[in-house]
């Protein structure tokens, strides 16, 4: 009966109800859209990182610290037998990393030189270009678009590459840009060049050595210590850094979330306060007919909850096709989005999970109910005689 009466009251309130419902439905759709974008961004970044950098995890030389270039001098060694076996069977790709300097058009850039097998299929990098023959003794080099933009290099350009070998001796060679690749993952692009692994081993005097080996995605995690003293960093270890970054970035989106929700709740709260003020006589009548105060409070709270339910229904009517379209077409990212700090594509595709929709709906309904209930506490102090006279106690 309460539900029926509440529904009738809402429908009877006409435009006021529909305005609230529309505001709430907008909050639903916008919250889900924004959260979907963040989820999509996160998902895209993870997938891109897995495909181009992380794979199924890395076996790393114990001295290697990717965040400390000074460790590179010592961070290389022969692959442990289990890792070498994986590399031999094509389930892993060895990478040797050393510091170097390039001099495109006479300018100097300190970079990392990464050596990788041109025939590898583990990472989504066009390393096959490294196998193309070059003129004379030139080193074929693969660079990303960001480095290309920074240095002004393009495919076919030559420049001087300098490095230190295993004995600490500086050496230099001419290098040619075999290909400029585009990637959303900055950590395989900015400040680094990719060269053939065997060539780098020759250049550095580190035959058969590597800094780390990328395991193919989907390969079962090795037993701890199985490749000692090399350390295995799992895919989750890498992604946890990214997720921490995403979490930090989502604080901003949470503010948007709270603003949308607060605006919708303000509308509900305002309506409830106005309702309680305007409908005192009706409350008195209900009490005279046998309603307890608790039942009147329940009626008004159910009315508020129904705003949320109607808002969800209306949001579903126009939000489902709208968000489906959005998920298909994505959102074109503005130029300069690279500065955001992690892999974002040219077009961002939101990901709307059932959990996101259900969670948002549940949260909005709970908050709506609470916001609807708060003003009704005044009814608890309402005397039926005052209510019948149109007064608030």
């Amino acid at each position: 009966m309460l539900l029926k009466l509440a529904l009738k009251n809402l429908v009877g309130a006409g435009l006021r109800t529909w305005l609230n419902v529309v505001v709430l439905s907008l909050a639903f759709v916008l919250i889900i859209a924004v959260q979907g974008l963040i989820q999509g961004m996160n998902h895209q970044a993870e997938q891109a990182m897995i495909a181009t950098e992380v794979g199924g995890g890395h076996f790393q030389h114990p001295a290697y610290d990717p965040y400390d270039p000074l460790t590179l001098t010592d961070a290389h060694g022969p692959l442990p037998a289990p890792v070498a076996s994986l590399v031999a069977s094509g389930q892993a790709a060895a990478v040797l990393v050393t510091q170097g300097t390039i001099y495109p058009e006479g300018r100097l850039y300190t970079i990392l030189v990464r050596g990788i097998d041109p025939g590898q299929k583990i990472l989504n990098l066009p390393t096959a270009f490294l196998a193309a023959p070059t003129a004379g003794d030139e080193v074929p080099v693969l660079i990303g678009t960001r480095l290309a933009k920074m240095t002004g290099l393009k495919t076919g350009d030559a420049f001087t590459l300098q490095w230190r070998d295993a004995r600490g001796t500086f050496d230099a060679l001419d290098a040619t840009v075999a290909e400029v690749f585009s990637t959303t993952v900055q950590t395989v692009d900015v400040g680094q060049i990719w060269v053939p692994l065997d060539r780098l081993r020759d250049m550095t005097g580190l035959p058969g050595q590597a800094t780390y080996a990328v395991v193919a995605n989907g390969t079962p995690a090795p037993a701890p210590g199985s490749a000692a003293p090399w350390i295995f960093r799992s895919r989750e270890d890498f992604l946890s850094d990214l997720r921490a970054l995403v979490k930090m970035k989502t604080v901003g989106s949470s503010i948007v979330y709270v603003i949308f929700l607060a605006l919708a709740m303000l509308a509900i709260f305002d309506t409830q306060v106005l309702s309680i003020f305007r409908r005192r006589r009706e409350m008195g009548t209900l009490m005279a007919l046998g309603f307890t105060r608790g039942r009147v409070i329940a009626l008004f709270t159910v009315e508020g909850l129904l705003y949320g339910v109607l808002g969800a229904v209306v949001a579903a009517i126009y939000g489902l096709p709208l968000l489906s379209w959005f998920a298909r077409t994505g959102w074109a990212m503005p130029a300069g989005v690279d500065s955001y700090g992690f892999a974002i594509g040219q077009r961002l595709f939101p990901a709307f999970s059932a959990g996101l929709v259900a969670g948002t709906t549940l949260l909005v309904l709970i908050v709506t109910t609470i916001v609807s209930f708060l003003p009704t506490r005044r009814i608890a102090r309402l005397k039926p005689t005052d209510a019948l006279r149109g007064r608030v106690s």
Binding site: L5, G284, M287, L289, G290, T292, T385, L388
Partner: protein
């Protein structure tokens, strides 16, 4: 009157604390009403009529004294018990009709039965019968906003009597009605009183209502100044009332 009384008030006092000068709305009112009475509380504005009606209707509680309504002591009832008493045993009719605006005429009348938990078939039968009594069966689907004042009050009467309460409390039921509608309303209530045995207690200062009363209790400044039985001739204005000074106590 050999029947046990439906309502008994003893030294009923109601004081409203208004800062330094509390207002005494009722001052030691002692009255008794038997089942089936058609009685009215009359007096000028502020004489305590509505306050007494509200206490009898368990919408308010006395400051002192006691009110026994259908065997229940009003001053000791919890909110829930008071709501239950109103729900099951008392019908209310208000000056401003107080119909629920979003409900149809039928639904307004049905509302009282919904609270009682009557099954749908029984509800329908009782609602249609109540609407027949007040001659509004043809307006069952109308909304309160589509009714005249007289029709609205008849709906309120149907709502008050549909659950067959022992007691109907009517606060200035004709104040917003013209003479013809007032007469029709009162005639309807008299018929219901006669046919169903429902006790009607009015708060009024409307002469049109007083003409229909069988008992008139005059309140002045919260005190009972007269309690009179009115015979048919008196109600027709032919002879003076059979006055019972001090009322039935």
């Amino acid at each position: 009157m050999n029947e046990s009384p439906l309502i008994v008030t003893r030294d009923l006092t109601k004081v409203y604390p208004m800062g330094q000068n509390p207002i005494t709305a009722l001052d030691r009112v002692s009255l008794s009403f038997a089942p089936g009475e058609f009685a009215g509380l009359v007096g000028p504005s502020g004489s305590g009529k509505t306050t007494l009606l509200n206490i009898i209707g368990s919408l308010d509680v006395p400051s002192e004294g006691s009110a026994l309504v259908m065997g229940r002591r009003i001053e000791t009832l919890s909110h829930r018990e008071a709501a239950r008493l109103r729900n099951r045993h008392i019908g209310f009719i208000f000056q401003t009709f107080n119909l629920l605006p979003v409900y149809s005429v039928y639904e307004n009348v049905e509302f009282a039965l919904l609270l009682l938990g009557d099954p749908p078939a029984a509800r329908r039968r009782k609602v249609l019968a109540a609407l027949e009594w007040v001659r509004l069966a043809d307006r069952a689907k109308s909304r309160p906003s589509q009714l005249s004042g007289g029709e609205s009050q008849r709906v309120a009467i149907a709502r008050a009597v549909v659950k067959r309460p022992e007691l109907v409390l009517a606060d200035e039921p004709t104040a917003n009605l013209d003479a013809e509608n007032s007469h029709n309303i009162l005639q309807t209530m008299e018929d219901l009183n006669r046919e169903l045995g429902t006790t009607f207690l009015f708060a009024t200062h409307d002469a049109k209502v007083i003409e229909h009363l069988r008992r008139k209790i005059t309140l002045v400044d919260g005190r009972v100044t007269a309690d009179e039985e009115l015979g048919p001739a008196v109600r027709a204005g032919q002879v003076g009332p059979a006055s019972v000074p001090g009322g039935r106590r």
